[in-house]
Assembly symmetry: C2
Homo-oligomer: 373 residues x 2
């Protein structure tokens, strides 16, 4: 194991979006230097760090040079090529470990991991090519499922890379969409709501779990996360146990985000894992305001070999994403709520579906829910 | 009045220490770009901002170029030369206004400002040159004061630039120390404790005041700030009223720090103003953890022409500075208190008396005081 980083050492971050930006600021808070490697010249994280490297992830020489300048290297999103991590691993510790990235990059590998950990997950069939779709759908329906999601194995996030199959008439269009790619066909799980656990594991194996947040999506993109989630204590304990088991199996170091569906009748009765993100997560942004040590700081502490901070929260919280031109409303959002914390990501161009910022409102712990809750 | 800055616009910051660093990060949180101008190549604020300018404050061409690249310019400490601000003012709005800087740079001007605002302050005599010291001390003692502080007019901070006169035998040494400089001789105020109000005033004249913190110094340097301060409600109202009056007289924009002495027998009965800092202030660092909108964010909001955020706090707080080699203890400080928030400033060299970082601990509001309190 590499030595613990000393203050003044450099944390390398692959990826320059808002997650990299908030990681860089968390590193700076702790007296560490952040160095960002990203292909886009206008990467938001470049604005808050020194000597960024603007190069493609396929540039082996640039990766090697970057690794040599860093004490440890981490990444802000799961679509960094695994072979880029392999190049860096020859020179420096990479956290979270490459095996976690590989599992997250391939939906089949992710499902295999969940099976190996004996985690509840949606029933699915592997679809090796378009011709295998029809029998796969029939098999799922034979096991009692009504509709299903066809998900390409790679590059899925924010609802991209998947289509919903409701009946046989959808099959032909889905086959065209799939083309020559492989996929999984996953039974649609009728769930009450989505929630997610953000957790951190240190280099020494200590684990802290932030309380699950309850997530709402609009057009497949996270729009809101709030704590408390409404999960009963028993299911919160289940969620933590599942998250811990996954981290331990992967010998994970850093922050992970585990999305789960709450299943049941009128009340949540059990949990099913939806997806694993081997990185800081949008649904954990509330930890910046509601906790003494945020997901970003705990990620940096973990990868630097430092002790983790408490995930305890001092307030209830509601985080709202600003997607696309919703960000144009920033001034009114600030003026209407003086206690509101606003984050804008420094992105030059507003595009539909693009995460431009977020805000967070706090209320005291155990405050009676407001009328809209 | 200049227009409100749009997200993506640049806030120029003169000075590159830890205050500039935390201002730069607050600007980034809000989607503004921070650009730092400082003479020292290893300025901590350079690490968290883009395209810093490393040049002396006397470099007129560099100042002009810098001003042209910024939407508004502010400063992180009061020893920026006033003529440097004047150069920038020809091109861009400067906040806080130069008159506030000038008052803070000269102890006599500061005393005149307090007199003009009819603010309570320590009795004093102007000492134009060393020979005037003896009659000044005699005059103060004639008005019932026992000891006094001789304070040079300029460059005083962290207890520098002052000596304590206890009796006539101290006069000769003080005259040697003063040399050819002017000074004020200020009656020593017997106070219960020092406290400070951090407040922000927007471009539109709105003012928010953070609750006073109670400050403890060691060897003339702030070692600890805590809220609540122990001031009764009546004196908190007085402290806010005095701070508001000073800001209004200066037509101030940005964050100000006003240090006060609490005077009385066993309980605080009144307040005397000690010093005014036209900038974010060390004794306001607790606002980063205990408030939704910190002093740094409110300073940036004010100078950018944005609405101010609430100064309300959600927790009690204790901020402790890490001075000189105290910072070497960082790992134990983190390990012993998982809920602790640690800030290290990225300074390469540890020197005695140098502020290297700080930490903040929170407790729930109105928590019974611990044994050490």
């Amino acid at each position: 194991m590499s030595e613990r980083l000393a203050p003044g050492a450099t944390v390398g971050i692959l990826g320059g979006g808002q997650l990299g930006r908030m990681l860089a600021m968390a590193a700076a808070k702790l007296g560490l230097r952040a160095r960002v490697f990203a292909p886009e010249a206008d990467s938001p994280a470049f604005q808050v760090s020194e000597n960024p490297v603007c190069a493609p992830f396929e540039d082996i020489a640039a990766l090697r040079q970057f690794a040599g300048d860093c004490g440890v290297v981490t990444y802000e999103f799961e679509n960094v090529p695994a072979h880029s991590l392999a190049v860096i691993e020859e020179l420096r510790l990479v956290c979270p470990p490459r095996r976690a990235l590989v599992s997250a990059q391939d939906r089949l590998a992710e499902r295999r991991l969940l099976q190996a950990c004996q985690m509840p997950h949606a029933d699915f069939e592997f679809v090796a090519e378009a011709g295998a779709l029809e029998p796969a759908f029939a098999a799922l329906r034979g096991r009692g499922h009504i509709t299903a999601y066809l998900k390409k194995l790679r590059q899925g996030y924010d609802g991209k890379g998947q289509v919903h199959l409701k009946d046989d008439e959808d099959i032909a269009a889905a086959q065209d969409w799939l083309g020559r790619e492989a996929a999984i066909l996953e039974a649609a799980v009728p769930f009450l709501f989505e929630c997610s656990v953000i957790a951190a594991r240190s280099r020494h194996g200590d684990i802290v779990c932030y309380e699950p947040a309850r997530n709402t999506h609009t057009h497949g993109i996270l729009s809101e996360s709030r704590v408390p989630s409404g999960l009963p204590e028993r299911l919160i304990a289940d969620a933590f146990a599942m998250t811990r088991a996954i981290m331990e199996r992967l010998d994970y170091v850093g922050v992970i985000g585990v999305e789960m569906f709450a299943i049941g009748g009128s009340e949540p009765e059990s949990l099913v894992i939806n997806e694993i993100a081997p990185r800081v997560h949008n649904s954990g942004h509330w930890t910046l305001e509601a906790c003494m040590v945020s997901q970003f700081e705990n990620h940096i502490r973990a990868v630097a070999g430092w002790p983790l901070g408490s995930p305890e929260r001092h307030s209830d919280a509601r985080m709202v994403n600003l997607i696309g031109d919703e960000v144009d409303n920033w001034a009114a959002l600030l003026a209407e709520a003086p206690r509101r914390s606003l984050h804008l990501y420094g992105k030059a161009e507003t595009r539909p579906g693009r995460k431009m910022g977020h805000y967070c409102d706090l209320t005291p712990l155990n405050h009676p829910p407001s009328a809209e809750s």
